[in-house]
């Protein structure tokens, strides 16, 4: 998504060549640092002497870069399989401390007011403020403050959006018709909503035109409040609202979460092995959609996508149709591969558990992967543009010619790569724990993971390939 944001046209874009070479070089460093493949140290030494050069100056060929990433994931599965002490696995996942107290009510009120103030700022400055994307507070607040910054705090600290969400605060104030939310529909509106939001975000200049952004936010507000008005805020935000659900799932990764008895401290990611966290095929589809949109977002700016679609557009396929169709097909493909892995896993572990049970139990680990990619994608983006956001916050209607940004050092790409790999590691561990919980025999649990690990290795390699590609402008639009 970085491409569509103001940062891509300032700091981030200018840094792309060094970032890309840095990223490829540092996959070796990351892997080496984690202690699996010490041999890659040689490659990083080569790369280091060529720092600052373009992609061509790399000593590691792409196939080796990709297979190193894939091997890191495969090797960490093998390492996790050495941990066969059930009690140890459970102790790690059950570790926690209660955090609740009387301060919560004050914090909630402050959070709700902050959320409302943020929404008001997006409307007022979005419609009336400067039209320059780099100085407009609405753009910076939504993309840098909310979608990058707040989302990062959601999985690094805790889900504050549950309290901040201004739509929920407003919906609670409004009356409700309290019609029963149709159970059959479940979370499918959230799945569709997520795909539509990402499609709109990719194909429209939402990060460049403050007026357009404010209009889209207004449209979303009307839709959300109408839904909450008809079905009641509780049901609407629990099932149908895609944004609320993204943050809720990210929040399940966080070290601070809400348990049965209030706020609780726990180890990051370890809550993802909880049973019934994902309940039903609709929620499985949402988790898969979350992972797919992350990939789609990067995929459409690769030269390969441009080369692949150019003949199609030349034969008369309208580009405006191309993007949503590709989004839908890719989502169906991801879901199909996941279901296939579930069926294979069922065959390999020789279990009588229904496929749906396995699909639900092994979906939450994917959230850890999505978190890893979000962090890789947005940490740099957030840091580069945070000073601009600070300036815009202090003077929302000023339109300075120069806005401050931060220059990221060359080694910064290493953090992005490390977070991608760590996301996969957490996912592998969580799936390992879930399998132990699900199957009585430990070897059966390990076998059940083979198809998922194969898919994960392939997915890692695909994602690393997308990351290593140069970014091109969105073709045909």
């Amino acid at each position: 998504m970085a491409r569509r944001h103001p940062g891509s046209y300032t700091g981030a874009k200018a840094q792309l060549p060094t970032m890309t070479s840095g990223r490829r070089r540092t996959v070796a460093l990351v892997v080496c640092g984690l202690g699996w493949l010490a041999a890659t140290g040689t490659a990083s030494a080569h790369g280091g002497s060529l720092a600052g050069g373009g992609r061509e100056s790399l000593t590691i060929p792409t196939w080796l870069f990709l297979s190193t990433g894939g091997a890191a994931v495969g090797a960490s599965f093998l390492l996790a399989s050495f941990v066969t002490d059930r009690a140890f696995v459970e102790r790690i996942h059950d570790w926690g401390r209660p955090l609740s107290g009387d301060y919560e009510r004050v914090l909630t009120l402050a959070g709700q007011l902050l959320g409302l103030a943020g929404l008001a700022a997006v409307f007022v400055v979005g419609f009336l403020g400067p039209t320059n994307a780099r100085t407009n507070l609405a753009i910076l607040l939504v993309w840098v403050g909310w979608w990058a910054g707040l989302a990062m705090t959601t999985y690094l600290v805790g889900n504050s959006w549950a309290t901040l969400n201004p739509f929920k605060t407003l919906a609670d104030l409004l009356p409700s018709l309290d019609r029963t939310y149709p159970a059959r529909v479940g979370s499918w509106p959230a799945v569709g909503g997520l795909l539509v939001l990402v499609w709109v975000e990719v194909v429209s200049p939402l990060a460049d035109q403050p007026r357009l952004l404010a209009s889209v936010v207004a449209g979303y507000s009307v839709l959300t409040l109408a839904g909450a008005l008809v079905f009641g805020p509780e049901d609407w935000f629990a099932h149908a609202d895609p944004v609320e659900r993204v943050f809720r799932y990210y929040g399940r990764f966080a070290p601070i979460g809400r348990g049965e008895d209030g706020l609780r401290l726990r180890l990051p990611g370890m809550d993802l092995s909880t049973p019934r966290l994902v309940d039903g095929p609709d929620e499985v589809a949402f988790v898969v959609a979350l992972l797919w949109v992350t990939t789609y977002d990067g995929l459409v700016t690769t030269p390969a996508w441009r080369d692949l679609t150019t003949p199609l557009v030349d034969t008369g396929v309208p580009p405006h149709l191309l993007y949503p169709v590709a989004l839908g097909i890719g989502f169906a493909g991801f879901l199909g591969v996941y279901q296939l892995a579930v069926r294979l896993s069922r065959d390999m572990s020789d279990t009588y558990l229904a496929p749906a049970v396995l699909a639900q139990r092994f979906a939450p680990p994917l959230i850890a992967i999505a978190v890893g990619y979000h962090f890789a994608h947005y940490l740099g983006y957030f840091l580069v543009l945070a000073p601009s956001l600070a300036v815009a916050l202090t003077s929302p209607f000023a339109d300075p010619a120069v806005v401050p940004t931060i220059e990221l050092p060359d080694w910064f790409g290493a953090i992005a790569l490390a977070s991608v790999i760590i996301g996969h590691l957490v996912a592998i561990w969580v799936a390992h724990a879930a399998a132990y919980d699900l199957f009585p025999a430990r070897l059966q649990a390990i076998r059940s993971q083979y198809p998922f690990i194969a898919v994960m290795v392939f997915y890692t390699m695909t994602s690393l390939w997308v990351v290593s590609q140069p970014e091109v402008a969105l073709p045909h639009l």
């Binding site: 493949l37 000593t59 009585p440 070897l443 059966q444 390990i446």
Partner: protein
């Protein structure tokens, strides 16, 4: 309102059937405490020891011990294979990086 109430009641009623999917011609060893079916007798013995430890009789405890020992043996064999795979990956990449 009534519609959804019956629907959700039906959903909870069929939950047990939906959790398990035993092929018609397969042998299933079913847990007498919770009704979960297994494809192998040793898995049932392990399950009883892990999920219902306080309810077992002496014979079931003995079966759990035997299945657990058997499992330990097969795990040791697996660990060796996994170690072999790790060594292969490590030295494979060591050589590839030396050559490229």
């Amino acid at each position: 309102m009534t519609d959804t109430a019956t629907q959700s009641a039906a959903a909870t009623g069929t939950a047990i059937d939906e959790t398990y999917d035993v092929p018609a011609d397969a042998t299933a060893y079913t847990c007498s405490y919770c009704g979960r079916p297994f494809a192998r007798e040793s898995w049932l013995a392990l399950h009883r020891g892990l999920a219902h430890p306080s309810e077992l009789d002496d014979e079931e405890v003995e079966a759990f011990r035997a299945a657990h020992d058997e499992e330990e043996a097969s795990l040791s064999a697996f660990r060796l294979q996994a170690l072999g795979a790790l060594v292969l990956i490590y030295f494979g990449f060591l050589m590839v990086y030396a050559l490229v």
